[in-house]
């Protein structure tokens, strides 16, 4: 994951001078009385938002821009669509190098880069307590009603779920990955997940297979787990038949070259098909330990001119590789929700894939040819598609693109997530004794007792913080987005609302001192 910093000059700094009509009187009315307990104050804030059917959402994850990856773009796109629907969204993540403090992205999306210590692989150290003061401050000043945590690899997400429950807020969690049950690291992560999810109001998974996996890992009631698939940006993946070489048939493979992506299968398919079809060539993008297998095959069968290995690809280059091919091949052995085949189909390619994990759920039957994860089955499937391609029976790339572009859109994801928030907000927050009982009954005797102890300490720490730094001393932040958002009033209007146009535009001028 290359850390890239994209700064966009187009985004203007939302200086309070021209955007935020400050009015001290509106603030005094929204402030809570001095002696009110946190729970009641947060509930009263919740009611205010519930009356307008809008939520005040805080997305928490260790992973956000400038770090690049699937979770990061998921959070960003989902937040943008929720803002468009009139909700208030803020994002809390840890500081990346000098990027710490408060920043604004496109359409007034506010990001808190909190100075928490990073431990391993961009994930913060978890002590269960040290993040409470800052997260409490964010939740209180933004009058958060729903805390939405992302990714089970993120320690900050787990911490936030725990603290949010201590503070009496509703929580939602999105799981982005499949996990094993056997090795030590998954056993430990699964235990942590059991503890943090045991009183989470609602959980979102990306496919039914992923839901099954999460329910088993975290010992959950399947009724509180929803499935909302990921989405792709159809405008990023458009077909362009002119890039193809029509004198031959090109098969494109874009994946990391690792065991679980089935590269060994690919190594078996290549010589068999190349022997049968002299005009077939392979274009392989991606890097990994299994590259050796492919190089070996290429060497052994003298296929240097027909099998091209492109090495690691940037996400922005993927489309340019995809449009060069006729057929997209995916040989994964396990997959939660395969984004690659949606991207391939969106570029107008014929898709051949293995029938594993959540893949059969992803595309309708006429757009994908599913095979068993064996060399022979995949060869049969590919030959069928090659024959169709030769006969000219395949639909045109443009028509495939038209069919795919409506399947997975971020607006649809946002709509469904909104329903999850409505549902979560309607549920009561467990008081401490019930919560402790639940922890002990759900998470086993030992881990349950340990974490009930941690929950009690967390609660006492919160009381201490409330005494040291009472809630009424914390200034309520002005809403940039949401029902009373100041960002759109006369400022954001001239800016295009297109999400792609100004993605990751960071107001860099807000230099903040810690």
């Amino acid at each position: 994951m290359g850390q890239r910093r994209r700064t966009d000059v187009r985004s203007r700094v939302p200086c309070p001078s021209d955007t935020q009509p400050f009015s001290p009187h509106t603030h005094s009315s929204t402030e809570t009385p001095p002696d009110t307990h946190t729970r009641s104050s947060s509930m009263s804030g919740c009611h205010g938002y519930l009356q307008s059917r809008k939520h005040s959402i805080c997305m928490v994850s260790d992973f956000f821009y400038p770090n690049m990856g699937g979770v990061e773009s998921h959070i960003y796109q989902l937040s943008q669509c929720l803002i468009e629907k009139g909700h208030k969204v803020v994002i809390a993540t840890h500081a990346y190098g000098h990027r710490r403090g408060v920043r604004y992205l496109t359409n007034g999306l506010k990001v808190y880069y909190l100075p928490l210590q990073v431990m391993y692989n961009q994930s913060t150290a978890t002590t269960c307590f040290h993040s409470l003061p800052l997260l409490r401050c964010v939740f209180l000043r933004e009058r958060i009603t729903v805390v939405h945590a992302h990714s089970s690899f993120s320690a900050m997400a787990h911490d936030a779920l725990f603290h949010a429950k201590t503070m009496g807020l509703n929580t939602v969690f999105t799981d982005h990955s499949l996990f094993g049950f056997a090795d030590l690291s998954s056993v430990l992560t699964n235990k942590l997940l059991t503890v943090t999810l045991c009183d989470t109001n609602h959980i979102v998974c990306v496919s039914y297979t992923s839901k099954e996996n999460t329910v088993l890992r975290a010992a959950l009631d399947p009724d509180i787990v929803s499935v909302i698939p990921n989405a792709v940006d159809p405008t990023d993946f458009t077909p362009d038949p002119s890039c193809r070489d029509e004198s031959k048939i090109t098969v494109v493979v874009v994946s990391r070259l690792v065991y679980r992506k089935g590269i060994d299968l690919l190594g078996g398919i290549i010589p068999e098909l190349c022997a049968k079809h002299p005009d077939l060539c392979f274009l392989i993008g991606g890097e990994g330990p299994k590259r050796l297998v492919l190089e070996e095959v290429r060497e052994k069968y003298q296929l240097h001119d027909r099998v091209r290995l492109l090495g690691a690809l940037d996400h922005k280059d993927v489309r340019d590789v995809l449009v060069q091919g006729h057929i997209f091949l995916n040989t994964s052995l396990t997959e939660a929700f395969c984004m690659a085949i949606v991207e391939g189909a969106s570029c107008g390619l014929q898709v051949v894939s293995t029938r594993v994990g959540g893949i059969p759920e992803v595309l309708p039957d006429e757009l994908v040819t599913l095979c068993e994860p064996t060399v022979s089955s995949l060869c049969v499937g590919l030959e069928k598609v090659i024959a169709k391609q030769r006969a000219g029976e395949v639909p045109s790339p443009a028509s495939i693109h038209r069919q795919v572009q409506t399947l997975y859109t971020w607006r649809n994801v946002a709509e469904r997530t909104e329903k999850v928030y409505d549902h979560a907000c309607g549920q009561p927050v467990l008081p401490l004794p019930t919560r402790l009982r639940r922890l002990r009954s759900h998470c086993g005797a030992v881990a349950g007792s340990i974490f009930s102890f941690v929950a009690v300490i967390d609660f006492l720490f919160l009381l201490l913080l409330q005494w040291l730094w009472p809630d009424d001393l914390m200034d309520v932040a002005l809403d940039a987005t949401g029902p009373a958002g100041h960002y759109q009033q006369g400022f954001g209007k001239e800016e295009s609302k297109d999400l792609n146009a100004a993605r990751c535009a960071v107001a860099d001028t807000r230099q903040l001192k810690c």
Partner: protein
């Protein structure tokens, strides 16, 4: 004419904001925090002296006692001279510039002046301060290399740290003057 208003700082302690209008183009804001409290001085001195007596009891060395007297006196002087700020003043003169001065408890005064040509704007910003997130008022300075960009930021009222409602009050009056300057 001067108006006095009561506000609180981010810790909940009362502070006083007084606005002095000299002319439509010239306004002075003074934020005064509470005076050095006698109780706190006494408590601090008592702690140091008790510790010194404990050390004296163990070591039987009178140098400990004399150094305790020295420490309390020096500590008090340093605190009064460099740490404790009584007043912070922001004087905005349209078309001329902004003068910032802070008066320490000892009477020492430190003043700096920023001419109008270097000032881009005065805004309210957010920052993470210790374990909390606060609003503060700051002056944005122009970058000499890039006239459109922001070179650096000068935070105002750094030691008194007023809350948002007080900052909004100062911000609005400052913008009135800056707006008049821009128009003319």
């Amino acid at each position: 004419m001067a108006e006095n208003e009561e506000f609180t700082d981010i810790r909940g302690k009362p502070i006083k904001l007084s606005c002095q209008d000299y002319s439509p183009f010239c306004r002075e804001f003074t934020v005064s925090s509470a005076k050095l409290s006698l109780v706190r001085v006494m408590v601090f001195t008592c702690i140091v002296w008790l510790l010194a007596y404990a050390a004296f009891y163990l070591t039987q060395n009178t140098a400990v006692l004399s150094s305790a007297i020295f420490v309390t006196l020096c500590g008090m002087l340093l605190h009064v001279h460099f740490m404790k700020v009584d007043h912070e003043t922001l004087l905005v003169v349209g078309s001329l510039g902004v003068q910032l001065s802070s008066t320490y408890a000892s009477g020492r005064e430190s003043t700096s002046f920023i001419e109008m040509s270097r000032i881009k704007d005065i805004v309210i910003n957010e920052a993470i301060y210790m374990q909390t997130i606060i609003y503060y008022l700051c002056i944005l300075l122009k970058d000499p290399a890039e006239p459109e960009g922001v070179g650096s930021v000068v935070p105002l009222f750094q030691s008194s740290k007023p809350r948002l409602n007080c900052l909004v009050r100062v911000y609005k009056s400052c913008q009135e003057i800056l707006g008049q300057t821009e128009r003319s």
